[in-house]
């Protein structure tokens, strides 16, 4: 169940891996020739242990960057929002900031605060969703139901402010589209207190409840800080090994330079550290939101800018719930972009995910993979090859999940 050292020579023979060391050798070997289907992750095992993981993430590729070159600047904001339903606001924010950087206009202070409030509400909803999913994958279904119920509180606030639960469409260039409604302040502060209490309660649960302990303590290959950086890990995947890497701290945007907060880091390096980290971040976010609504400055919420964006290139990055999100834009001086590049945090965290899975047992795969907070559908289909028996098979996410639960808690499946 826990990470042990694999026998290197056998692994190398089977999967052609080269051992990784800090002497800059490449940690990824040549692709195993056996697997051809379009499943989203392919795992190569020796018996019960994972030796190699190949990501096949194109299942959600639609061609947004190309489409962006044919649509007006403002339309792209609402298209890129729909890259991801869970962190949609921060996509539109990052794109907006990249484009705003090409203009001479400034974002009004009130709009920066509202952007922060929505971004932090999104962080809370995303982390609550994730902790719930961890409960679901680990076999603690009640946690899933509770977390997603708490999430509804946050979604109610988001809906009251923006009109929608998921794709909030709150951003505009140099501002936000809607103002904070009258009288929301007390409601928000009160709900944030409630969320904080719940987060503290769950923190206790993951440290004491048997299902969560068994499935998360010491689970996941331990990586050190240098490895995490060389693998370009971002967000919680960098912070859980102790790196102080958070865009809100290192390169403040929106109102993050005015609203005080502490970043959360841990150093245990296992899946449970990630649970603690994200739950602690919920508390930090709740405090930031309360502060921001109490200190919301007066003033306009938007500066209208012309539809033609001056020529040049610019980039922006934000701290999405899953990690750093990065946008690069290039303008030829027209109404449509010349190039937009969007890099989601999950893409940056896949190399470290592959590293975390090495040496783990099949039963731990769902929990370890979910630990990086991948796109929701990434786990829908996975294929496996056991080099000991030459058996190949494909599982849906649900089948993998049930396998893991059965392995750890066989008594639940007795008639």
């Amino acid at each position: 169940m826990n990470a042990e050292q694999n026998k290197p020579t056998r692994r190398e023979e089977t999967a052609g891996l080269i051992e990784y060391s800090t002497e800059n050798l490449v940690p990824f070997g040549p692709i195993h020739p056996a697997l051809k289907e379009p499943e989203y992750f392919k795992l190569i095992l020796e018996g019960e242990r994972i030796v190699e993981v190949i990501p096949r993430i194109g299942y959600v590729h639609r061609g947004l960057e190309k489409a962006a070159e044919m649509r007006p600047w403002v339309q792209n904001m609402y298209m890129f929002e729909r890259t991801c339903g869970i962190c949609s606001f921060v996509h539109s924010l990052c794109y907006g900031q990249a484009v705003e950087g090409l203009t001479m206009f400034q974002v009004p202070r009130r709009a920066k605060y509202i952007r922060l409030i929505i971004a932090e509400l999104e962080r809370i909803h995303s982390h609550l969703l994730w902790v719930g999913l961890m409960g679901h994958w680990a076999g603690f279904e009640t946690l899933f139901m509770w977390k997603w119920s708490d999430r509804e509180i946050v979604l109610d606030l988001v809906e009251a402010i923006s009109g929608n639960r998921v794709h909030k469409s709150m951003n505009a260039f140099c501002g936000v589209r809607r103002d904070m409604p009258e009288g929301m302040e007390d409601r928000i502060v009160e709900r944030m207190k409630h969320i904080t209490d719940r987060a503290h309660y769950y923190r206790q649960i993951i440290d004491t409840e048997e299902t969560m302990l068994v499935r998360t303590e010491n689970v996941g290959n331990k990586v050190d800080q240098e490895t995490a950086q060389k693998l370009c890990a971002v967000g919680p995947m960098a912070r859980y090994v102790g790196l102080r890497q958070d865009v809100r701290l290192t390169d403040p945007y929106a109102a993050y330079d005015e609203v005080p907060f502490d970043i959360v880091t841990r150093n245990e390096g296992d899946v449970r550290a990630l649970l603690r980290l994200r739950l602690d971040e919920i508390v930090v976010s709740a405090n930031m939101i309360s502060y921001a609504v109490e200190h919301l400055p007066e003033g306009p919420i938007r500066v209208k800018i012309p539809p033609v964006i001056p020529a040049g290139e610019h980039s922006s990055h934000c701290e999405a719930p899953r990690g750093e999100i990065f946008y690069y834009v290039r303008s030829g001086g027209g109404r449509i972009p010349e190039r937009v590049k969007s890099r989601q945090p999950t893409l940056a965290n896949i190399p470290i995910a592959l590293e975390l899975l090495k040496g783990q047992t099949l039963a731990d795969v769902p929990v370890v993979l979910t630990a990086i907070d991948p796109c929701f559908g990434c786990m829908d289909r996975m294929s496996f090859l056991d080099t000991d028996t030459n058996r190949q098979w494909t599982w849906s996410g649900e089948q993998l999940r049930l396998y893991g639960i059965k392995h750890y808690f066989p008594e639940r499946f007795k008639e």
Binding site: P38, P55, I57, G58, G63, D251, S315, R339, R343
Partner: protein, 160 residues
């Protein structure tokens, strides 16, 4: 006395005959030949202690394909751009310097057709379907048309 990162980059660029162009608001663009790209990036990692490669972006520059490495440190961003001709889109992989770049290079290979020598997964598709027609040019080239690609991938609709 602390020199900003951008100042140090500009100094190093001048010393090694590469161009450093300040962009807006804390960003700098440095253009480096393919022949020097790995040495330059090694310098960024080892001597300037740059730790974070945000991503790598491909660009259609007309005759050439641009490959831009975006390094971020605090509030400063360095865009390091190299280019390869469209007639021979072969570049050097930096996976031995920064293993995490493996997927970023694969993406540029999918989208622009640049091969990165030294990347062990470069023959594998990351985002495009495995059965992408061999004679269909990479999608992010300016000459590629989405309608044409959709037809070839069998995604054209019956509905009007």
């Amino acid at each position: 006395m602390s020199e900003t990162l951008l100042e140090r980059i500009t100094t190093f660029a001048a010393e090694s005959n590469t161009k450093a162009v300040p962009l807006r608001k804390g960003e700098t663009l440095v253009e480096v030949d393919q022949a020097n790209i790995k040495a330059f990036i090694s310098h960024l990692l080892n001597d300037l202690a740059l730790r974070h490669l945000a991503t790598i972006t491909g660009l259609d520059l007309g005759q050439n394909l641009g490959i831009t490495y975006h390094f971020i440190q605090g509030q400063e961003t360095i865009h390091v751009r190299t280019s390869v001709p469209k007639t021979n889109p072969a570049a050097l992989s930096i996976v031995d310097l920064i293993p995490g770049a493996i997927l970023y290079e694969m993406e540029i290979h999918d989208m622009f057709g640049v091969t990165f020598t030294g990347n062990p997964w470069i023959d594998q598709k990351l985002l495009l379907p495995d059965d992408w027609p061999a004679d269909l040019p990479p999608p992010l080239l300016k000459t590629s048309k989405p309608a044409e690609i959709r037809k070839r991938l069998g995604l054209e609709t019956a509905q009007k």
